[in-house]
């Protein structure tokens, strides 16, 4: 407290110096905070725009063999079928949370009364699909196991398509739609998300297989992994999955093109890595600006210490120890950096809030799709706490060299000056 009072005098006496130093530090912190905020905006945007997908999903499609195997030529087409799902359930209970077969039929037309929609896709799914692809049912119900077993002609419709088929707003739940000459019962309506604008109707996969004479074939196997948290585990799982499928569909266990495997978890890993790289580089950038502020403080303090040589000489003659002097300068430096640092920080936070209010959450219309950009470009409390710590440390660092110089002043030399 007393020390603060001692400092007050010298700070007030050197107003210009204090102000110049202050501006350097304040702008450093302002930039640090704004960069963090903008970076967070970009990262949040990533997260938001890829929402709706299940991130640990692994997709498998049939391909063409690239090796001769078991007496068969290469270049053979591999079509996945119902055995694949059973195989995964049997062999990988520990590595998977769920698996669903998907089979789709596109280019269909759906109608209700006189209204109709062309180029509709009918996607045959398993009940577990809802969780795996974050499909949200807003009215009615999801497709269940009985629908699958009995190959019922039931469908899920998106709310947006409901409006198009029923312009006067009549609910289509429990209504029959005519799809490609067959009647389907609408059992549920699902929430549109901004990402998918496809006209997809969901039905049990067994229904598609039956109605379109596809036998037991499926187009895609979607697997939700469990505990696949490292690169190696993912790779191992993919290898074993390929081997398992090779057994059923008779292809070489190491044939890379017989089935196509797309592991979103690994993509996701890369995305996270990109996010953290972005965040770290923003910190580094902010720190660099801050360091330039600190160097500025240090320089100005150094000049001021030189100007005040005589003062330190007097203080020493009156009984100040070197530590008294060091403490005073460092504390002075911390007070200056801290005070102006907070000014910069508050300005930065205010600016982030302004960004949030003006451009945050705005969507960018890119034709068929809508893309959100700059979601929630703000900084959190922990960033501010970190910044405070950084300020105190940098204040101390900035003060150290000048303080050392001031304390090593010899009183006789200082007094002769």
């Amino acid at each position: 407290m007393d020390l603060l009072y001692e400092i007050w005098g010298s700070v007030m006496r050197n107003k210009m110096r204090t102000l110049a130093t202050g501006i350097a530090v304040a702008s450093g912190l302002f930039l640090l905070i704004v960069l963090q905020g903008a970076g967070n905006g970009i990262i949040h945007t990533f997260d938001r725009n890829r929402g709706g997908f299940s991130f640990d999903a692994i997709h498998v499609w049939g391909g063409w063999t690239s090796r001769a195997y078991d007496g068969m030529e290469r270049g053979r087409r591999i079509v996945l079928d119902n055995r694949a799902e059973d195989m995964v359930n049997l062999r990988f209970p520990a590595e998977t949370k769920g698996v669903t077969s998907i089979i789709s039929q596109s280019g269909l037309t759906v109608s209700y009364g006189t209204e109709y929609l062309a180029s509709v896709e009918l996607e045959g799914i398993h009940p577990r699909y809802a969780d795996m692809a974050s499909l949200k049912i807003v009215r009615g119900r999801m497709i269940h196991d009985l629908d699958v077993a009995e190959r019922r002609k039931v469908i899920l419709l998106s709310e947006k398509r409901e409006k198009e088929l029923s312009p006067r707003g009549k609910s289509l739940l429990n209504e029959y739609l005519l799809l490609d000459g067959k009647y389907f019962l609408v059992v549920g309506l699902y929430e549109d998300d901004q990402m998918s604008s496809q006209t997809t109707l969901y039905t049990p996969y067994t229904t598609v297989q039956t109605l379109y004479g596809r036998g037991t074939a499926i187009d895609e196997l979607m697997i939700s992994g469990k505990g696949l948290d490292t690169e190696q585990k993912n790779e191992l799982f993919e290898t074993r999955l390929r081997q398992g499928l090779g057994k059923i569909h008779t292809f070489h266990p190491e044939d890379q093109s017989a089935v196509w495997i797309w592991n979103q978890a690994r993509d996701n890993e890369q995305m996270n890595r990109a996010s953290s790289i972005l965040q770290i580089s923003l910190w580094i950038l902010g720190m660099l600006t801050l360091i330039s502020g600190v160097v500025g403080v240090s320089n100005i303090m150094l000049i001021s210490v030189k100007e005040r040589t005589r003062e330190f000489g007097i203080r020493k003659a009156l009984g100040a120890t070197p530590w008294n002097i060091i403490r005073m300068i460092i504390f002075e430096s911390i007070v200056i950096t801290g005070t102006f640092g907070y000014v910069g920080m508050f300005a930065g936070v205010a600016f982030c809030s302004y960004m949030d209010a003006s451009v945050g959450n705005r969507t960018l219309d890119i034709g068929v799709d809508k893309l959100q950009y700059f979601v929630d470009p703000t900084v959190d409390i922990s960033t501010c706490l970190w910044a405070t710590l950084v300020m105190i440390v940098s204040g101390a660092v900035a003060g150290f060299f000048p303080a050392h110089k001031a304390s090593s002043v010899k009183p006789i030399e200082a007094l002769r000056a």
Binding site: D2, Y5, E6, G9, S10, M12, R13, R310, E311, G313, I314, R315, K316, A317, L318, G319, A320, T321, P322, W323, N324, K410, P411, I412, L415
Partner: protein, 248 residues
């Protein structure tokens, strides 16, 4: 003076002090100083410019170290002290008065006077209170909240005297305290120092004004880094310039 053995207790005892300023051309400034100053004495050091008066006073004030010899300050040996220890002795034992006052410009008179107590850890309220008392003693109570640039030379030197006294030091060291003052204010300052002496303070004044020197009891003449002679000034009031006047 010399018939009472009790007051012959030594305050300063120098024997064979040597000091050389190192540099491109080392300068041997003090070449063996022996000096004895008793408690309660008022001593002047005189000599030509460059004779080493300030150097000697700085050694006495522990602002500077010496190369050879022995220095006892109130029975405490002073030699190669650590900075911290030196600061402690300067703070507790010595009061300085400088030719150029050496007040801190951004502190008012009261804060300047109180500063030595800051380094003793005395609370602000307490030290400001004491500072006001000492300003009163030098007749500047009404000027307590004026800054140095609002004070005359004589007033500044009185503030400096109050600051030197506030820690109740054993000894006052003054390097040309009247050097920057006109004759009238010089008289004021000398009167203050004489009053302190009457109260029992030990005082050493460096000066080259004989008018100042002859108001003290003992005049030490320095020449080329050695004590030329020590003159006892039996009756300071009978100085050639009379009492209360300073020859400029």
């Amino acid at each position: 003076m010399y018939f009472c053995p009790y007051i012959d207790i030594s305050m300063i005892k120098l024997s064979g002090i040597h000091k050389t300023y190192e540099g491109v051309q080392p300068l041997h400034v003090l070449k063996g100083i022996d000096l004895h100053i008793k408690k309660g004495e008022f001593v002047a050091i005189m000599g030509a410019s460059g004779s080493g008066k300030s150097t000697l006073l700085n050694i006495l004030g522990i602002l500077d170290d010496y190369d050879e010899g022995e220095y006892l300050l109130d029975e405490t040996p002073i030699r190669h002290l650590k900075e911290k220890k030196a600061a402690y002795y300067r703070n507790r034992m010595i009061g300085f008065i400088f030719q150029s006052f050496n007040l801190i410009a951004f502190k008012d008179a009261m804060e300047n006077v109180a500063l030595p107590l800051f380094y003793q850890g005395v609370s602000r309220r307490k030290r400001n209170e004491l500072a006001m008392q000492y300003l009163e003693k030098v007749g500047l109570r009404d000027w307590a909240h004026h800054y140095p640039n609002e004070l005359s030379g004589g007033q500044k030197q009185r503030v400096a005297i109050a600051r030197a006294l506030i820690t109740q030091p054993r000894i006052i060291l003054a390097d040309e305290p009247t050097g920057a003052l006109d004759s009238r204010t010089s008289v004021e300052v000398m009167e203050l120092l004489k009053a302190l002496h009457r109260q029992g303070m030990t005082i050493v004044v460096v000066t080259h004004e004989s008018g100042v020197a002859y108001q003290t009891q003992k005049i030490v003449h320095i020449k080329d880094g050695l004590i030329e002679r020590i003159e006892d000034n039996v009756d300071p009031s009978a100085s050639p310039f009379g009492n209360g006047s300073v020859m400029k």
